[in-house]
C-alpha cells in the first residue's frame, strides 16, 4: 500500500490480509511487554486538524507498540482562519523527515490533496463527512471475530446482514463501512430518516430503510451512528426524543435483535439518544471490543504501510522514507517470534 485513503481502495485479499495481521498484532496486546521492533527508526506523525482523543490515542499506541517514533501535532481550526494554507502546513510537517502522516481533517478530501504535495505515506484517520477507513477495518475485525465465535465454520461475511443506523449523511464511518462491507460480501442496510440519508444513496451498493423495527430482526450486526450535537439544531429531525423513538436502539428494540447479533458503535456514544444503556452494556455489545480492535488494526495498517523491508535504523530516517510501491508484499511478522 502506498497510502490508505479509502476503504474502497482495499481489495478483498488486502482486507483479509490486514485483518489476519491484526489478529497477530492483537496477541501483542495480551502480553506484559507490548513492544515489537518492527518500525524502529520510522517516524509517524499524527496530524489532527480536528479533536479526536480516541482515534489519535489509538494510532499513537499502535505506532509506539511497533517502536515507531510517534509525534502528535494538533492543528485544530481552519487553516484559512490562521492564514496558513493546508499545503504549507503539511509541507512544514513533511520537511521534518516524516515517514507516514496520519491525518484527521474536518474537511472531506483533505488526505487526497495532501498526497499531491508530499512524498510521505498518508493514512486517512477521518476526513470530514467522507471516510474513516481504519474505523471500517476495526469494525470488520470485530465483526469477523464475533461471527467466528457465534457461528464457527461459516464463511465470515457472505450472507451476513449489517444495519448501519443513524446520521448516514454526515458519517464517514458509514461511508467507509459501506465500501468495506461490500468488498467483504455482506449485505448492508442503511436505516435513517430521509433527512439524514445521503443524496444519491440509490446508487450505493446498499438497501435503505426508514423502519428500524422491520430491519432489526434480520441483522447479524447493527452499527449505531453517533448523532452529532449540531444536527439536533439543524432541522434534520424535530427533537432528540422523536429521534430516539424512531431510530434509537432502545431497550424495547433490543428484544427485536437475534440473540447472536452484535451491537457496535464507533463512539463516543450519546447514551439515551441513539443507544440505550441497556443496549450499550448488553452481552451483545461489541463496543469495547471495537476499541481494542482499533489498536490491533492500526498496528497492522502501519506495519503494512511502513514495515517489512528495513526494520533497522541503520539506513537513517531520511533514506528510510518509503517512496516505492510494493510494500504490501512484506512478510507478516510473527509477534511471538520477535523479542
Amino acid at each position: 500500500m502506498r497510502h490508505l485513503l479509502s476503504a474502497g481502495d482495499l481489495s478483498l485479499a488486502e482486507t483479509t490480509g490486514i485483518l489476519d495481521l491484526a489478529e497477530q498484532m492483537s496477541l501483542v496486546q495480551a502480553r506484559p511487554v507490548k513492544k515489537l521492533p518492527a518500525l524502529r527508526g520510522r517516524t509517524v506523525v499524527n496530524l489532527f486538524f480536528e479533536d479526536s482523543t480516541r482515534t489519535r490515542s489509538s494510532f499513537e499506541i499502535a505506532g509506539k507498540w511497533l517502536s515507531a517514533d510517534v509525534i502528535n501535532i494538533s492543528a485544530k481550526g481552519s487553516s484559512v482562519s490562521k492564514g496558513e494554507s493546508l499545503r504549507d502546513t503539511v509541507l512544514t510537517v513533511a520537511a521534518m523527515g516524516v515517514d507516514a502522516l496520519v491525518i484527521r481533517h474536518h474537511a472531506s478530501g483533505a488526505p487526497w490533496q495532501v498526497t499531491q504535495w508530499i512524498d510521505a505515506q498518508v493514512l486517512n484517520a477521518g476526513d470530514g463527512t467522507h471516510e474513516h477507513p481504519t474505523q471500517a477495518l476495526l469494525d470488520a475485525f470485530t465483526l469477523r471475530r464475533h461471527f467466528r465465535r457465534t457461528a464457527p465454520g461459516q464463511i465470515d461475511f457472505a450472507g451476513r446482514t449489517v444495519a448501519v443506523v443513524g446520521d448516514v449523511t454526515h458519517s464517514r464511518v458509514a461511508r467507509s463501512n459501506v465500501l468495506l462491507l461490500q468488498t467483504l460480501g455482506a449485505r448492508v442496510v442503511l436505516v435513517a430518516p430521509p433527512t439524514l440519508m445521503p443524496s444519491g444513496v440509490d446508487s450505493w451498493p446498499v438497501e435503505t430503510s426508514h423502519d428500524l423495527d422491520a430491519v432489526l430482526p434480520e441483522v447479524d450486526a447493527v452499527m449505531m451512528l453517533r448523532v452529532q450535537r449540531e444536527r439536533m439544531s439543524g432541522g434534520y429531525f424535530p427533537t432528540p426524543r422523536e429521534y430516539t423513538v424512531g431510530y434509537g436502539l432502545t431497550r424495547t428494540r433490543l428484544g427485536l435483535l437475534r440473540p447472536d447479533a452484535a451491537i457496535c458503535h464507533p463512539g463516543p456514544m450519546n447514551r439515551g439518544l441513539e443507544i440505550s444503556a441497556d443496549a450499550a452494556d448488553s452481552g451483545r455489545s461489541r463496543i469495547l471490543d471495537q476499541v481494542a480492535a482499533g489498536v490491533s488494526v492500526r498496528m497492522a495498517v502501519l506495519y503494512q504501510l511502513l514495515g517489512g523491508e528495513d526494520d533497522t535504523p541503520a539506513g537513517g530516517s531520511a533514506d528510510a522514507r518509503p517512496r516505492t510501491e510494493g510494500r504490501r508484499e512484506a512478510p507478516a511478522p510473527d509477534p511471538r517470534g520477535q523479542r
Binding site: 504549507d88 472531506s108 490533496q113 464517514r172 445521503p198 443524496s199 444519491g200
Partner: protein, 427 residues
Amino acid sequence: MTITTTELLVTGADLLGRGRADLLIRDGVFADPATAGPGAERLDADGLVALPGLVDLHTHLREPGREDAETVETGTLAAARGGFTAVLAMANTSPVTDTAEAALHVAALGRRGGHAEVVPVGAVSKGLAGAELAELGLMARSEAAVRVFSDDGHCVSDPRLMRRALEYVRAFDGVIAQHAQDPQLAGREACCHEGEISGRLGLPGWPAAAEATIVARDVQLAELTRSRLHVCHVSTAETVDVLRWAKLRGIDVTAEVAPHHLLLTTDEVQGYDPTFKVNPPLRPAEHVAALRDALSDGTIDAVATDHAPHARHDKEHAFAEAAFGMLGLETALAVVVETMVNPGRLGWEQVALRMSTVPAHIARLTGQGRPLSVGEPANLTLVDPAARRVVDRSDSASLSRNNPWHGRELPDPVAATVWAGSLTYRR
C-alpha cells in the same frame, strides 16, 4: 502592449461568417477601405472571421484589494488575449464598489491600463451586506455611468430589498444582475452540486433548487416592478425552464452562462482539486446539455466568464475551505467554439450576439457590440476557427493560475483584438 497606428487595414476577413471584406480602421472607427492610404499597416486576415469585440458581463478584476491575485491591468490584458474589448468588473472588491467614488476609481484604472473598456458594476447593497440599498443613483449619475448592479458572490436574498432595487433602478434604465443562490438552501459551505457525487464525497451539497427558486421569485418581482432583471451564471436545467416561462410571459429578463458550465461537469471535483471549486458549482451532464440548448435557442442571452482569479495559497486549502472561482477570460471563446460552434449549435453571427451585441445592450454600452460598419467604433475580434492548442496555465496574462482548462486541448481562436481602433492583442 497597445499599438496605435494611424491606419490599420484588415484584409480578407470573413465578417461574422457572412462573406469576406476588408476593414479599414482609422481614428478609432471603421472607415471606407477604399480610402486607405499607402502607409496603412496591413493585417492579413485571410481565413479569419471578424466579430465585433467581445463583451464580458461578469469578471472579477480584484483591484482594489487583492492585487496579488489580479489587477485591472493584468485582467484586461487577459481580456484582450481572450478577444474581449469590454469587461464589467464586479463590485466585490475591497473596498466594495458601492459608491460613485469607488466606481470612478475602477473606471479610471481601466483607462490607465488601456487594454479594454472597464465598466464598473455597482453593488446592490451597501458592503454587499444584503440589508440596505447602496447609492445606486449616484453611481448611475457619475461619469462611470453604472447601469449594472450586482451583489455577485452573494445573493440578494431578501425579497423586499430585491423588489426595491429592481424598482429603483428603473429610473435610470439600470438592471439588477442577480447571483441566484438561496442562502438557506445553499449556504457558504455548499461547494458541490447536491447529488450522487456530493453524497459519495461527503461534500456539502448545493442543490439545483437553490438557484431556480430564487430565479422564479425574481422574474415575478421583475414583472411586478416592470423592471430589468439579469440572471448571472445560470447553472441548472430548472433555471432554464423558469427563464423560458418568464420570457414567454414577456418579462424583461436576460441571463448569462459561464463557459465552464458549458463543458465541465461535477465529475471534475472527484479528485478534490479546488481548481474545480466554483460557485455555482459544476453540474451533471444533463444540466450542461440544457445550458447548451438554452444558449443555442436564446433562452440564455449571453456568455459571461465569471473570471475569478485567486492567489495560489487561497486555493491550497482543503476543498471545502478553498476559494470559489476559476479563470475564464482567455479561454471563453475557445470553449464556445468547442461546445457551440464546432457542433453546429451556433453560427458566427449568433456568437457575435451572445458574446458582444447582447451583453453590450444589457449593460447599455453604446460603443460596444456594434456592427462592423463604416463610422462605428473599431472594436474587433479576429477569430481563427481551426487553430487548436493544449491549454497551459503558465501561458497567461492573469496573475493567477486557477485555470480549469490546464492540460486540455481546446480551440485557440483569438488571432487579434482591436479596441477603440488599437491592436490590444495579436497572436
